[in-house]
Symmetry: C2
Subunit: 467 residues, 2 copies
């Protein structure tokens, strides 16, 4: 009988709790869709400030602006966390053409890759070797590459449903192309833009020379997908055509910058910290609305939505706007370093860095017990069409927090349009839909609410119930 009563009271407690959770989620979504701030904040970040490359004046403006907005929210704490960041500048616009016979040229759209060196003054003009992969490059060897421009032209795989998977299968060309081609004596590298669509935008992004000595470092640029197709077609007609490009980018000395942090201090377990974040820096070609203005304003709105929905979190919730995800990850590393040095206990971190599109769910880096717990919340999300709960990666900025205990997660919006805009001049405000952005902010808030409410406690209870 006592056992029955225990079971009954547990059942009733769960019912009441589930009802409250459903109501709280409803409040969160309604507030976001009717009084959300994320779109207005993004408008300012994108249209009043613009692209926010680390070390730029715009990046510093974004630090000031978001700190001020945090302060308006009446949070428990708002602060700047200093971090030194690299400063790479693009300089004068790039210029490039294909020369099919002397003096007969067709201009093409390129942009320097982030971290690349400039071309020599007056640019580089020489023959091109087209390859599909780093393996192709190795197979050709020094003899066929020396003195040439290497053109990496492996397209993103269109039949993959996740465009991030397609990106992952291609981005080695961009990241390591110049490093590898430099070893074989190439004089430049041109990489097909990481874009599934055929259009005229070149897409920048980070590249690395690894340990390559300065003498072997060569300039590296992305070419638009349309112009990659054009170059490839023309090469099929004439292997001996010339390709010209000039770019004027350079790496300056590191400069001081900041992660921007806002906090609601936990009412019961203030020492257990939950992080929600995105990155404040962006590339310089567009205004960084999807990458990652969206994640920044959504993370800010998580704190506001919790407050507005009358939810007083038990744990400390921090929105962290990381600096320098794009070309250094210095902000993410610094945050984790400081957390470690202060012996802070981080229990959960969620990043939004996959665009401001309709949210589909989350991926989780955690063990099976925790994942089962999280999956039990799926029915609460069903009214909001949030269906994707899978184990997987989280986000670059929160990665350095990883240890045995923390649960890491990433918001997973619909990915189909993301690489149409990623790191390109058309990553701009008008391509973000207000409702889609707000649904993302609400979904993040809902997950944070549940993680805070049940935390590891429920998991412990679950284990206990097994006995």
């Amino acid at each position: 009988m006592r056992r029955l009563i225990t079971i009954l009271s547990l059942f009733i407690a769960f019912q009441i709790s589930a009802q409250t959770d459903a109501e709280n989620l409803k409040n969160i979504y309604t507030n976001s869709l009717t009084n959300g701030m994320s779109y207005q904040w993004l408008d300012h970040l994108s249209n009043q400030i613009g692209g926010r490359l680390s070390g730029s004046l715009n990046a510093e403006k974004a630090v000031e602006y978001t700190k001020e907005e945090f302060e308006k929210l009446g949070l428990d704490k708002v602060w700047l966390q200093p971090v030194m960041v690299p400063r790479w500048v693009r300089g004068a616009p790039e210029f490039s053409y294909i020369e099919t016979s002397p003096g007969v040229t067709t201009n093409v759209n390129i942009c320097a890759l982030g971290g690349s060196i400039a071309t020599p003054n007056g640019g580089v003009k020489t023959k091109v070797v087209e390859v599909k992969s780093l393996e192709d490059l190795a197979a050709l060897g020094k003899e066929k590459i020396k003195g040439k421009i290497v053109f990496f032209n492996r397209p993103m795989q269109a039949d993959l449903i996740s465009t991030f998977e397609a990106y992952g299968g291609c981005v080695d060309q961009r990241y390591a192309g110049a490093m590898e081609a430099g070893k074989y004596g190439a004089v430049g590298v041109i990489v097909r833009s990481m874009n599934l669509r055929l259009d005229d935008y070149p897409h920048t992004g980070s590249m690395s020379y690894g340990d390559l000595p300065n003498s072997k470092r060569i300039p590296s640029a992305a070419i638009s997908t349309n112009d990659a197709e054009l170059l490839s077609s023309l090469l099929a007609l004439d292997k001996n055509l010339n390709f010209f490009f000039s770019q004027h980018c350079k790496q300056l000395a590191d400069v001081q910058s900041y992660n921007v942090i806002g906090e609601i201090t936990g009412s019961e377990f203030p020492n257990e910290i939950i992080v929600v974040g995105g990155h404040l820096d962006s590339w310089d070609l567009g205004d960084g609305s999807h990458d990652d203005g969206a994640g920044v304003v959504q993370s800010m709105d998580v704190l506001r939505l919790l407050k507005e929905s009358g939810i007083r979190p038990k744990r400390t919730i921090r929105a962290v706007l990381f600096m320098n995800e794009e070309n250094g990850l210095r902000g993410g590393k610094k945050y984790a370093e400081v957390a470690k040095s202060k012996n802070e206990k981080h229990v959960f971190a969620l990043e939004s860095d996959a665009g401001g599109f309709t949210p589909r769910g989350f991926s989780f880096d955690c063990n099976d017990v925790v994942f089962a717990q999280i999956e039990s919340w799926k029915p609460l999300f069903k009214p909001y069409l949030i269906h994707y709960f899978e184990k997987g990666g989280s986000g670059a900025d929160i990665g350095p927090l990883k240890d045995n205990d923390i649960v890491l997660a990433g918001l997973r919006p619909d990915s189909q349009r993301y690489f149409d805009h990623h790191h390109a001049a058309n990553d701009t405000f008008e391509h973000v839909n207000k409702r889609e952005l707000e649904l993302g902010a609400a979904s993040m808030t809902a997950l944070i609410y549940l993680m805070d409410k049940y935390g590891t406690a429920t998991i412990t209870n679950k284990e206990a119930l097994k006995d």
Copy 2:
């Protein structure tokens, strides 16, 4: 022992079948994403032809074009099904302003609603009564309405997750506003556009006068959401401001048009017919890319994808491009009427008429046994992030086919952006993403493939297995 063997063979048969199904779905999606025709067809429909209002030259061009494209596919049958359609024409551009004091005017963006009469020559200028609903209107009564322009200004409800639900909760103002206001002696009706976003586009759409005598019929127009807000704000300051609008639309005599039909005849059960369709007509303001060029080209691509994937359907699969969904539904009614007169057995119909956005799933109008059968296919769709299988409505054009036996279904794409473009000048090709369109076509093909393969047979088997 015999029983065990039976169970084992059933199990093995299911495994093999499930594997084949997974492979066939993979082929369908890969083909659509790498060699799909839907985007190319839509480009032609949208950019070479344009808006396709029933009875217009463009609508006839679309009939010719899609018939020719069907013929290129090497189908078993392609034909035109004659149907008389209404012909409403917009005439000279509408013009409208708010007059806050004599001679002080602000132009606003309006468009005549489909089916509306024109204003008298020289337009209408008079005072405005703002209401939120038909109930508000009735409460005001004749005295307060007579001689005025009624301004219906109930916004779509932003906190509903399905924008179609928000539309359903608002569209009575557009459809019946003039009919009801006319009864009280109003001289015109202005309706807030069915749009969740604040912007400058007026959104047209059908309206009806019902049985109202000609003498009581009044002109009716939609106003952009920004201008609805403006008008409402100005009315709050001055109830006596004047509103002017002029429009020149008229209803001409019905004209001959056609449903366009392509068919793959069934190899085993040619008399069991499966329909997949969208509507070929559109409103006249944009090029009708989302509504419903997308559904048209996806339906066409279903037949191509089945052929390309080497699937020979057992049942007859017809792609039907219905004429006149927007302002009459004559095509849908005619198709059902002919099917009935020929005693054709239709077992399944699927419509795509909710935009070319990322598909989320389908809704089904069917009984519980069939729905359970369909739900058992969900795991096959999981790799494609198709998760939404719910009972609900299907599509307007296939509605007239409804009887006790047919299963009706509608493709359910992500709905967040749909009403940004619906029936407005910005329903144009550049707002359709190629991959999203292709994923929709593949999802439709996959469902048709499974319905054809298992049809009602599996359901019968299921029933049999219960004994």
